[in-house]
């Protein structure tokens, strides 16, 4: 590999580039405006104004009140805080309901709770990754403390009908949390008009820096504080604010609102072009996840007879970045828990590749993948003992 190829970044569900506008907005807060928002002097106090503005920018994107926004260190912290904070506030309820396709930031927390004596229900999904709402209804009872269900799946992009689910759950007096890390910025939200009580989002999935996130807490939601210390975030999440991160997230949310239409037109069109071309050019390839109930930027395709890591590493030579649900890419021995929950055969799960686009993805990027991917699959199939003659 003599020349380093141009990077074709199609792994935006893993992380995104920081937007230029976001970087510009953050820049002054390291060496010039470095005060502590809690300080009793104007140098620090002026920063509190900026944090307040960022809070409003986030609230605008989510369609809620700024007082309902808690800044955290990211999606994982928000998920942990929402689930554990709810259980601590409702000690008499001992049941948690989630799905088998959640991100580990939710699933590992729930399974740990189960190990500590909570009853856990993990709802299954169908072959296209969709939930059975009747099954959820059947499990709701007076012992249920919280239902936590992701907005959109990080691996397949499948979107759950969260407003409908939230209404069902909260009307029974049960707390509802959604991990919306992949959905925010791609799906328009009006949280004030709906029933979601708690929602997690992560900055670095929408062109803000890593290390900042939000937990939306609807007014009147019972949640025990999860980080004790100072009085920041109304005493619910102590710790000096990550000011540059928060300013950046505010700016990123403003941009996401502005580009929302583009996500659903330009990005969707590029995704569809990529997906259709791959499925047409590569035999024995199939789409994982429902075709329409899906994020506009994600496609997950399985290639029979070949293994995901090998595909990724050959694509890597052309500068193409994607990800896979194969066992080998994780270092574990079993392929993606999401694809297995959907009943995708092991054979197809090992050869699954996810491409996730962003508003920075270009026509040329898509052209290059359409050109380079089919020969990679062909080459690995020539190596594979399973290809029927």
């Amino acid at each position: 590999m003599a020349d380093k190829p141009r990077t074709i970044y199609l792994d935006n569900n893993a992380t995104t580039r920081v937007a230029d506008e976001v970087l510009e907005a953050i820049r002054p807060y390291f060496c010039d405006l470095y005060g502590n928002p809690s300080s009793m002097h104007a140098f620090g106090g002026q920063i509190a104004q900026e944090v307040r503005q960022a809070r409003e920018q986030v609230a605008d994107l989510l369609g809620c009140d700024p007082t309902e926004i808690l800044f955290t260190s990211g999606g994982t912290e928000s998920d942990n805080a929402a689930i554990k904070g709810t259980l601590a506030a409702t000690p008499n309820r001992r049941k948690v309901i989630t799905t088998r396709v959640e991100h580990p930031a939710v699933l590992a927390v729930c399974r740990d709770l189960e190990a500590h004596g909570y009853a856990l229900v993990e709802l299954g999904v169908d072959r296209e990754g969709r939930l059975d709402l009747d099954e959820l209804e059947h499990h709701l009872d007076d012992d249920t403390a919280i239902v936590t269900i992701m907005y959109a799946n990080n691996e397949t992009g499948v979107v759950f009908p969260i407003e409908q689910i939230a209404e069902k759950v909260t009307s029974r007096g049960i707390a509802f949390h959604t991990d919306a890390v992949q959905a925010v910025g791609k799906i328009p939200l009006r949280l004030s008009d709906g029933s979601v009580g708690l929602l997690s989002l992560s900055g670095h999935k929408l062109h803000a820096p890593k290390g900042v996130g939000v937990l939306y807490v609807r007014k009147g939601t019972r949640l025990a504080p999860f980080m004790l210390g100072g009085h920041q975030e109304g005493g619910r999440r102590a710790g000096t604010e990550n000011v540059p991160g928060i300013i950046g997230l505010g700016k990123a949310c403003e941009l996401a609102g502005r580009f929302m239409d583009q996500e659903n037109t330009q990005v969707r069109r590029l995704r569809d072009r990529l997906e259709n071309a791959i499925l047409k050019k590569c035999p024995d390839a199939m789409l994982n996840g429902h075709k329409t109930d899906r994020l506009p930027n994600t496609t997950n395709i399985s290639f029979e007879y070949v293994e995901g890591e090998a595909i990724l590493l050959l694509l890597n030579r052309f500068g193409i970045c994607a990800s896979s649900g194969s066992a080998c890419t994780s270092g574990s021995l079993e392929p993606s828990h999401v694809l297995r929950a959907m009943g995708v055969p092991f054979t197809a799960a090992h050869g699954s590749i996810r491409f996730s686009l962003s508003r920075y993805t270009t026509e040329q990027d898509i052209d290059l993948v359409i050109e380079k991917l089919p020969p990679v699959i062909l080459r690995l199939r020539e190596l594979s003992p399973f290809v029927p003659k």
């Binding site: 007879y305 080998c328 574990s332 021995l333 392929p335 003992p385 399973f386």
Partner: protein
């Protein structure tokens, strides 16, 4: 991203000897689509019984392809007896090493080779790899004999290592207890075999040498035997010729502990350290 060696990258990007030999002398298929990797190996012999040509087809990740590719290079020109002695460790070594979690790729190479040789020697009767031994890991279809072999050849001591090398225990995890037992049994065998070189018994020992030798004897000769029964032993003190030890785990409540003390602990210490030693159990303080 995995840290592969240059040699792994080279064999992944430019695999050698890809394909299938028409009318081969030996052929074998190991692994499966469900397991995430699989290898079909074919070879042809020359007139003198040496491997003239070897070819592979592999479904799997970069290290699986590289392991298969380098294996075909390693066996060319070898007699079947020479080839049969190749271990998974040698395959990994020729590649300059593999990440721990990828060692099973080298094991797959070794298994395919063994099965292809068995196929030739059986006159082509054994097409698929015969199940040798009793299946321990039902998720990945790994037998006790296969587990024993990777433990022995790679000196493995934990279940996690066994999973890295042959996948056993990497699915539902239901067989982890059984894998632990196999590790204990194999590692004990190894100790019996290495008893040719027991701790050296000096003619005259200083106090420090004596204590060190007592500790070494307990570590190497006594503890493994107690471990096999879920117990353990700790050296508490040495006062002159009196060795004070404490039993832990199952041994602590064992009705035959007194017998173990005299028959095993004291006997071994006298054998390897000094005839004058006697052993006492530490008073229970907790």
């Amino acid at each position: 991203m995995w840290e592969y060696t240059e040699k792994v990258w080279d064999h992944f990007y430019n695999p050698r000897n890809v394909g299938e030999i028409e009318d081969p002398d030996g052929v074998a298929e190991v692994g499966s689509l469900a397991c995430g990797d699989a290898l079909k190996l074919t070879f042809k012999l020359d007139g003198k019984g040496r491997i003239k040509d070897a070819r592979f087809k592999t479904f799997g990740c970069a290290s699986a392809i590289a392991s298969s590719s380098v294996l075909t290079e390693m066996i060319k020109g070898k007699t079947l007896d020479e080839a049969a002695r190749i271990t998974n460790k040698e395959i990994a070594d020729v590649l300059g090493g593999l990440p721990e979690q990828k060692m099973h790729c080298s094991v797959m190479g070794m298994e395919a080779l063994g099965a292809a040789i068995a196929n030739y020697r059986s006159g082509g009767k054994e097409q698929k790899k015969e199940i040798d031994g009793r299946i321990v890991c039902t998720c990945f279809g790994v037998t006790d004999k296969e587990i024993e072999r990777v433990i022995r050849e790679n000196d493995l001591t934990t279940v996690e290592e066994v999973t890295n090398y042959c996948k056993a225990g990497g699915g539902c995890g239901g067989c982890k207890g059984e894998i632990e037992k196999i590790i204990a049994a194999v590692q004990q065998d190894r100790i019996k075999q290495t008893q040719a070189a027991p701790p050296k018994r000096g003619a005259r020992l200083t106090n420090l040498q004596k204590i060190q030798l007592v500790q070494q004897t307990i570590n190497e000769q006594i503890r493994p035997a107690l471990r096999a029964h879920g117990g353990n032993i700790e050296l508490v003190d040495v006062e002159g010729d009196k060795v004070i030890v404490a039993f832990r785990g199952m041994c602590a409540q064992c009705p035959t502990a007194e017998f173990t003390m005299k028959d095993v602990v004291e006997a071994k210490l006298r054998e390897f350290v000094s005839e004058d030693l006697f052993v006492e159990e530490a008073p229970v303080s907790e």
